[in-house]
Symmetry: none
Subunit: 443 residues, 2 copies
């Protein structure tokens, strides 16, 4: 294409001919380079439908915005629908709120859902779960006008029960519920009855936090705004129910040492199920070898006093269970935002006290049992019970501190659950056990 090309010098037939002979990336470059917006738009509209999308994807953001502003809704629909999903997402990522809304609302639902899923909004963000089918009102409208708008447009909206009041730049000014509208007089102005203290989410907020807000406030819907407080979408309670369920499932899976899966169990391929589990099992198997090595170091003692071997499963299992109890409560507390990083040492001190009670009870029962079943060997009973007590205290400390450490390091606390902790407390428990036995029996 010629530099400083003046399209006004050519008729449409010639232009179409030229376009048909040119690669779409080149056309895009050419359009991008055109100084005159009107000329660029004219040229773009000469493109055949299927090529328009390809060209569009390569245009500058600026030019994309101008074109969207200039063309009809049905043309938008056909272009964006033709785009590869990642291009559509890239495009929508960069557009201002008004353009995003217009584009998304002109797409078939399925496509829109896909785009919403893949969009700029990081996975798991409020932006990634929001929808754009909300009712927006203007502050200066009356209640009667608001009802007219709801009656006219409401049929396509995901919820009509919470309406959002925005200014001309789409800044969120307030919310008003249909309940309030119904209880107001038809002549009341929206600005006089709306709630101005709106609790909203930012597009980048973690969807888990949004879920916690829903629980706390009993919301039906929550507005999602961009960094300039412009309304870009809403999250509705039915999405939140789903998120809450998914988040819990994810935590269950991570805590049981699996990579989380989006699909329901029966719909997941066998190979996928296996792949979600093998790396974790492998990792834990390899770390469990540490415990094996600790035992190896004390092989001599165990050969001299083989009775000591028989307490190993009990010590290991109790350590794992004690640690898992603490870890589970703390991980859940963090997820529900009941426990924050400010509580770290409070939580630890609580767990140490609980561990003292649990460990004491277990040690006492164990002491009596060994005395009864092992010919009153007092020293043996005492050593094993002391080891058990120490193991419980260590396991509960590790179990409550590791998830909080993970949180601090911006990892998912759930990863630090039962299996990982088991491996650590197993090793610690064995060291304590053998240490005590060595001292007690001089072996």
């Amino acid at each position: 294409m010629p530099v400083d090309f003046d399209i006004s010098k050519y008729d449409n037939t010639t232009l179409k001919q030229m376009l048909s002979e040119t690669n779409s990336a080149d056309i895009a470059e050419w359009i991008n380079d055109l100084e005159e917006k009107q000329a660029a738009i004219k040229l773009f509209r000469l493109l055949p439908k299927d090529e328009a999308a390809d060209v569009f994807a390569d245009l500058s953001r600026d030019m994309q915005e101008s074109i969207i502003a200039a063309i009809q809704d049905y043309e938008i629909s056909s272009i964006i629908d033709e785009l590869f999903l990642d291009d559509a997402v890239d495009f929508i990522e960069e557009m201002p709120a008004g353009v995003v809304k217009r584009v998304l609302s002109n797409l078939p639902r399925e496509k829109r859902d896909m785009i919403n899923n893949f969009l700029k909004y990081p996975e798991g963000s409020a932006g990634s779960i929001m929808t754009i089918e909300y009712v927006d009102l203007k502050a200066e409208q009356t209640v009667a006008e608001a009802f007219n708008r709801i009656r006219r447009d409401g049929v396509d909206k995901e919820t009509i029960y919470t309406c959002y009041v925005t200014d001309s730049a789409r800044h969120l000014l307030g919310v008003v519920s249909v309940r309030t509208l119904l209880l107001s007089s038809p002549d009341d102005k929206i600005e006089d009855i709306m709630t101005r203290e709106v609790i909203s989410a930012n597009t980048s907020d973690d969807k888990e936090n949004v879920t916690n807000e829903f629980s706390k406030y009993g919301f039906l819907a929550m507005p999602v705004v961009d960094n300039e407080n412009r309304l870009v979408g809403i999250v509705t309670f039915d999405d939140i129910l789903e998120v809450q369920e998914e988040e819990a499932t994810e935590d269950f899976e991570i805590m049981a040492a699996m990579s989380p899966s989006d699909e329901p169990y029966l719909k997941t391929k066998i190979s996928r199920l296996a792949l979600n589990r093998i790396p974790w099992l492998m990792l834990l198997m390899i770390t469990a070898i540490i415990s094996g090595h600790i035992i190896e170091r004390f092989e001599h003692a165990l050969t001299v006093m083989p009775i000591l071997i028989t307490f190993i499963p009990m010590l290991m299992d109790t350590a794992g269970n004690s640690g898992a109890q603490s870890a589970t409560l703390i991980i859940r507390g963090i997820a529900l935002e009941e426990i924050t990083s400010a509580d770290t040492w409070i939580v630890w001190f609580r767990e140490v006290r609980v561990a003292t009670l649990c460990g004491g009870a277990l040690a006492a029962v164990n002491f009596v049992r060994i005395l009864l079943f092992n010919r009153w060997e007092f020293l043996l009973a005492f050593s094993v019970s002391l080891a058990l007590f120490c193991t419980v205290v260590i396991a509960k400390s590790v179990g409550c501190l590791l998830p909080q450490l993970a949180k601090l390091l911006k990892f998912d606390p759930a990863v630090m659950a039962a299996p990982a902790i088991t491996t650590i407390v197993d090793a610690a428990g064995l060291l304590v056990y053998f240490g005590i036995c060595k001292f007690a029996f001089g072996i």
Copy 2:
């Protein structure tokens, strides 16, 4: 609201102003966080009457009790009377007998009778979480009449967006949403626009099933009927969010071998935390002794070939982790009603295939590792790896079948989770291991 807020620094007018600008859920959180009970009570009393009830519903049990103890009888009456019935019932269920008596005796007779009726619904039933503040309409009313009714009575209803159509004997005939009402003409008859195929819950239905219906249909509210299909209440989505959260927390706790607790971790007494854990730890400690006895039976073999001891932690941990993975997925699938009893053998066959893949991968790695680190003892490597493979298959079979068996026997499948399965598969794994070693090494 500021952190570490000292209310003594502010005068009542300022405090009232601050309260009026704050959402009731946030006020409740703030009062809950106040260390000083007197300050908390003072602040609560500054709330306007209608907001006091909203805040009260969100307070911790502890704080509710303190406030009830501190205020006058007539104040109790007005607060509890203002509460939605489900919140009032929740509160009364948690309070000690003395407080309950004082509260009930200060309520109007009608309210007291209703609360007493609600207290009869079994814990965890739809009846126990429903509320009676719904809008009911008559089939022969017009849309205009319906709106009049909503305007007149709606202000006290928990939701107005779904209205219930009943006959004179309170039988549930249909539902109609405010959306439908808004989109209909004022002269339309309710019977012509209502939905007659109503999905309702029975008062005795498990609240977990009700939650699953909500997720499935995206309900805002669901009617609860008695055995004669008479409408007795509704369950609203905000209660469902809470139920879903509680159910997940409960499953987390049970699966980590604890008795579930209603209270948030930081509000639970140390002794209560310990009591929730000790019985389970004790039970599991005692069952772990079985593994100890199995080891004892093979003490001779272990003394002859002490290297065999060092593989025990790895075998036991892998068994526990493999079983926990399967159990977790199955328990979660059952809870979300993705897996039913008809799927038992399908699920088992899936898990066996997954186990073959997982076990195969682990055994292969383990085989190579032993060859490399244990002087190329082929028979040892083979025996341990074979035992590992068998253990994974057994663990996954047990892990998927036990929760389904529990379900069949009407136990909570979550009880059959990780810790219980660990104990069983530990024992099974050790037996397989020693059996193989005995055969291979003739010891």
